[in-house]
Amino acid sequence: MENSLLSIKNLHKEFDRNTILKGINLKLNKGEVIVIIGPSGCGKSTLLRCLNGLEDIQGGEIYLGGKLLQKNAKDISSMRQKIGMVFQSYDLFPHKTVLENILLAPVKVQKRKRAEVEAEAMELLERVGLADRKNDYPRQLSGGQKQRIAIVRALIMHPEVLLLDEITAALDPEMVHEVLQVVLDLAKSGSTMLIVTHEMAFAKAIADRVLFFEHGEIVEESHAPKAFFERPQTERARQFLKSFEY
């Protein structure tokens, strides 16, 4: 019944009587990259968190591959394994080495063979240019390096969808580039992604579709990102984009 990989129907989220998400409808197809932009507090990060069952929802449904996703359902663990998530604050395990950080979930959660996973981890580390840091602890890495490791940690699970939640928001400008380059490469290789970001140039370059969020609603949706960034259709999106100009 569903062709899209991820399908969100009339999603409602409230927190302390505040409505965070007001009936979001969204379909994400395989291989598609959707970028969500919008002012802080508009609910975009919350949306990503709902998609991974990290938040209770008050209404609506989320389907992944046609299967209903519920936070407290028995199969949530296996559903989460199919949804990779990378956070703004990296959230690497501080007492684990880079390699241990990457291996934990595939070995302990997916029960894959350590040797096989380790070989794959090394390949991925090579890809993001950090193979030589495999035995380092997170504190020995820069923010950009930590975030690239966090991406590898998500990728090794072979997720069907990657959720990237403002992954460069805590980084120095120089490090933003190295991280976004990794994400661009992923998009090229056909990864399905839902990205929340404040990097407009990046959004323009990577998006197949752009969503402009405000007050928990999709205000504008565009299948032509370049046109959207040049000529947004709504006044609100225009104002928002203008705030990035000097």
Binding site: I76, S77, M79, R80, P94, H95, K96, V109, R139, R153
Partner: protein, 221 residues
């Protein structure tokens, strides 16, 4: 005066004190570690939030921790007799020591585990890790420095309690200090036992701190 029997007595005292302290702490953790984990998981914002369980455990801990050790020692004597066969001596003292240590350990473990960054736990949740995996692979692993510091503190406290058990013939250095120093006014013997007690506590503290520092990968080089 000081002779070889005295030396033997002191050595035995040290042995008994270390024995009581270490074994009671060990048993204390067997009870207290699951208790601390349960408190962490069931508390507000925990992975298995459950108000009833949290409040019940919380209350049990508060009550048991409020009972002065000397009273606990006497109150549990029937249990001690049942388990050990007698109510005096160092092995018997392990029973009340364990019971006194367990709630303290529960609290220490709880506070250590709660120090683990929420984002890190969420990262594990988002990977599909089940509660068991998160507890053993993430919470305990990431809180290990704090947990180890906790062990050091518990050892010191239990040692202090074990000395108190000397009042009812609990064995160990505290027993010697009370029998010689207090009942016989033999101050030198009491002072010597005191020096040993301090030395043991000091040693545990130094070793504990050193280990904790070694295991901390967050900021030391």
């Amino acid at each position: 005066m000081w002779d070889s029997t005295m030396t033997v007595m002191m050595l035995e005292g040290i042995r008994d004190t270390v024995y009581m302290t270490v074994v009671s702490t060990l048993f204390g953790y067997i009870l207290g570690l699951p208790l601390g984990i349960a408190l962490t998981l069931t508390d507000k914002n925990g992975l298995r939030q459950n108000r009833t369980i949290y409040r019940t455990l919380d209350m049990i801990i508060n009550i048991t921790r409020s009972v002065p050790f000397l009273i606990l020692l006497i109150v549990v004597m029937p249990l001690t007799k049942l388990l050990v066969g007698k109510s005096y001596g160092s092995t018997a003292t392990i029973v009340p020591l364990t019971l006194a240590a367990a709630p303290l350990i529960g609290r220490m473990v709880e506070s250590s585990l709660k120090e683990v960054n929420r984002g890190v736990i969420e990262a594990a949740v988002s990977m599909g890790a089940k509660t068991k995996t998160i507890v053993f692979k993430v919470l305990i692993g990431e809180a290990r420095t704090s947990l180890l510091v906790g062990v050091t503190i518990v050892l010191g406290t239990v040692l202090g309690y074990s000395a108190m058990a000397g009042v009812v013939g609990g064995g160990g250095l505290g027993d010697i200090a009370i029998r010689y120093g207090y009942y016989r006014y033999d101050t030198p013997v009491m002072l010597v036992t005191l020096v040993f007690i301090v030395a043991i506590v000091q040693l545990m503290q130094v070793v504990g701190t050193l280990l904790a520092k070694r295991m901390d990968h967050r900021n030391n080089e």
